[in-house]
Amino acid sequence: MVLDSGDTAWILASTALVMLMTPGVGFFYGGMVRRKNVISMIALSFIVFALVSIQWVLYGYSLSFGPDIGGIIGGLGLAGLTGVGQDPTGTSTIPALAFMMYQLVFATVTLAILTSVFAERVKISSFLIFGLLWTTLVYDPLAHWVWGGGWLFGLGALDFAGGTVVHISAGFSALAIALVIGKRKGFGVHTMEPANIPMALLGAALLWFGWFGFNAGSALAANGLAANAFVVTNTAAAAGALTWMAASWYHGRPASLGVVSGAVAGLVAATPAAGFVGPLAAIVIGAVAGAFCYGMMLLRIQKGLDESLDAWSIHGMGGLWGAIATGIFASAAVNSYTGLLSGNVGQFTAQIVAVGVSVGYAFGVSYVLARLVDATIGLRVTENEEYVGLDISQHGERA
């Protein structure tokens, strides 16, 4: 189709918004670790961004969106962006390069979320290698399956902006890696106070802001569907913020970190659903997400699991709930799909399958990769380096 300047303007703006989410994750996480690891945490987000940007241009985009090979993976036909041009292709109204770039920022933020489990203990060289393997072997195939014409897409599973590809995959990968990398020294023994809560709140603000590009941009056009996704995103975030706040208030005081964690939970849950459900369903989806992810966080802590910054409980479980909720609340009034509430059991099961597959694939491959890297070059820094902190030991800097 012919290029539409309005649609293109919106996609370019959305891409910039989503780009900001990667440092946003960095500041969100960086504010929550201990003082001696703040820079390390933010630096990881920049390094992720640079690394995946190059990987994606060289071959990642092609693996995800290149010519389908048996429903499993894309071919290398688009490697180096050969043939990815300034004109729209197919039914698209935006430049092929804009679509590629928009997908790039999704790939980067996914790996950024995953840094949660590496917090305060990862060796930077090992992280670089692991990250490259992970984005190639976990993210790229999943993106192909769901969005690139792969087999999950064929199954009819709905995922508007990446509940499975981004959030479930990052969250459950984090869970798997947590089992391999082990707890931070002193976890559960000393209190580990967040270094800089205002910084974490800044990160959350950037995330909320950027998420409008993430979800509303996924309409790939500046149209009514984008507006719907925008509203659903914001509404779910607000509802999640309020229920997490209420739940944590009930257990003590309403921490600011709880408010924003709830918002992120709502944003995550809205991600697969934003283009399929309406604003009132968004309230339910977000509200459940806030309370549910809060509970999952408590469960994680109770189990003594050091998945340090809750990629699993918020992104993994929030994404899981959002994907299922899409199968429940999808409404023909919004888009041409219906869910369980409209009597469409098929959609609901398709969602469950997609969730199951994503969970299993992400968890399994990540576990194997983490063991591999750990067994060869070691994922963790030495005990002394961990004690001194990664800022000094890995970067030679002090916050």
Partner: protein, 109 residues
Amino acid sequence: MKMIQAIIRPEKLDDVKRALEEKGFIALTVIDVKGRGEQKGITLQYRGKKMEVDLLPKVKIEIVVKDGEAETAIGTIRASARTGRIGDGKIFILPVEMMARVRTDEVWT
């Protein structure tokens, strides 16, 4: 009276505070400091080279106690701050000639 100055690991502060509390030492002052001991901080290996991280964050606790209580306070701090690894810290005792409360006109010597 005596001023006990104990330089300990930051992560041990809660334990020490609690231990002191149990022994009846409530009042105290806490200061964030950096320090190095005789072994010059921590030496890291880095691509063949050695790197010394010499000023590590520590916490200094100051408690002023009656002469007879110093022994107990020191024992309590030692027991609760110890991990057995290098960097556990030091304790100093300084003489205090007088202590006064600001709120009232009370004075202790």
